[in-house]
Point group: C2
Chain length 300, copies 2
């Protein structure tokens, strides 16, 4: 979907950075084009384009007839991630959802009304609408026009979302196919320790907080070895990005859930999955309460 011009170049550049970090490459390392291409699964053409981008940013240098060479040490790349420029479509998606949640657009609307109102081209429009439809937020009416689905009522959906997660997440630990990945667990633990020990958690962007939270739950779902569970959790996270954004400013709650996550991580690591399951249940119940009060505040 939505691979609008040039975006892919940025994504690829990031993947190359991942490779550099994972392989702990040092300055001066020769980045062979074909090798990278094979690793990522594309041809040399787009790899070159991405390397050019990295060269522009001074991360690699290019020597005529010799190719690209790393300039910076792998660990200095930790945070310079090349920001993937967000597409018009992503912004438009979020804007539509927010405008609907705050009742600035009617429940039922035609495509071209939206086009006029938001001044987007028809391609981005139809693509965004089908993404919204995929995500279960809107549905095409019979005949012309679209209407928003009740999912987009934040109070009801918040509850429903947690009820759904309370059903699937705790039981995912108890599946016979459950199999944790020690490496992933360790990375996740470090990330949480970093957050929890951070002197002033309020300075961490709420996006980053949210992504950590989401990644934790997706990791657990991955472990259970059942694609349907992880698919469902990914879907819930996409939704939560829209519904729960407000809840990520309470720094006391952030420390709390970090600790809850860490406790679950411990249980998984020690192999006590029944305990992990119970802890997950308690964590979700706690999180629902927090999200509900956050919602009330933002409403008043």
């Amino acid at each position: 979907m939505a691979r609008s011009t040039q975006q892919n170049r940025f994504r690829l550049a990031n993947q190359i950075l991942d490779v550099i970090r994972d392989a702990r490459l040092e300055p001066g390392h020769h980045l062979r084009e074909q090798q990278l291409a094979d690793l990522v699964g594309v041809s040399r053409t787009p790899i070159r384009s991405a390397l050019d981008l990295l060269a522009e940013r001074g991360i690699v240098e290019t020597r005529k007839n010799h190719g690209f060479f790393l300039r910076k040490p792998f660990d200095s790349l930790h945070r310079i991630e090349i920001a993937v420029p967000s597409t018009i479509e992503d912004e438009f998606y979020a804007r539509l959802v927010r405008d609907r949640l705050e009742n600035r657009i009617p429940n039922s609307i035609t495509q071209s009304e939206i086009a006029r109102r938001y001044k987007v081209d028809r391609v981005s429009l139809t693509r965004t609408l089908s993404r919204l439809a995929e995500d279960g937020l809107i549905a095409r009416k019979q005949g012309h026009g679209w209407s928003f689905l009740p999912t987009l009522d934040s109070v009801v959906s918040l509850r429903a979302s947690y009820e759904f997660r309370l059903t699937i997440e705790p039981s995912s630990f108890l599946l016979p196919t459950f199999k944790p990945d020690p490496g992933a667990i360790e990375r996740m633990r470090l990330q949480h320790l970093y957050l929890i020990s951070h002197p002033d958690i309020a300075t961490v962007s709420s996006t980053q907080l949210f992504e950590t939270d989401a990644a934790f739950h997706e990791m657990c779902a991955e472990f259970c070895g059942n694609a349907f569970f992880s698919q469902a959790i990914q879907y819930q996270n996409r939704l939560r990005r829209l519904l729960e954004f407000g809840s990520y400013f309470d720094s006391r709650r952030v420390r709390e859930w970090c600790r809850e996550h860490l406790a679950i991580i411990e249980s998984i690591a020690s192999g006590d999955l029944a305990q992990a399951s119970g802890q997950m249940r308690a964590h979700l119940e706690q999180a629902l309460r927090a999200a509900q009060t956050a919602q009330q505040h933002s409403r008043s």
Copy 2:
């Protein structure tokens, strides 16, 4: 999606038949255009077109300057449902999945290879591919081409699908928002009784059997009042249409699951949701076993 030419006319005709049946209209009844249009949520134009279709089939008659009048009694319409002609895309979708399951096409393939092989136009092709992607069966590769996801391994997925359903379906009954619709229950009961008492169940098309089964599970999920549960079940049913098609020929098993469904319906009707939940669990475990043996047979 996929509202290719004329399809809508058939769908609308069916909806009008639904209205006639639900309202128990008798021959001679005047079918007012605007009224139907409001009921269905479209304008008069497509309603007229659908009524014309019904007129062609002799179900309604048209009197100049007076409009359309019902010719047949509502209960005679029970089975003459106007068959919605299946689109090229639906068939193409199923064909692709089957060909992949039976390893007739490689795991990784470009759009235009498919286009050449199956001789479909570009629009249907991209639409079918994005439907497959939505359903989690294929994913776009970086660069050109698509690859099939492991979901399409029938043995693994069958188990995973039932594990997932075993987690959500029984608990859906226990949600505080659970609220059955007596009318829907009654219709479902009749449909099952019809099947079970059918002298020779083998003559009923397996599509029809499957749809009855799917409709039952979707109905239960609807009742729980949580859109995420019903969405998940709908998704599972779409998948099952592809994976379990073989299992619908064993007429003994069909009678069995009919009885299991009926027992659950009884429990719901009598308000004993805990019992319904337990029965659903047992039913799904039973169904998994049946599907697995069916799969083994079709494999040998």
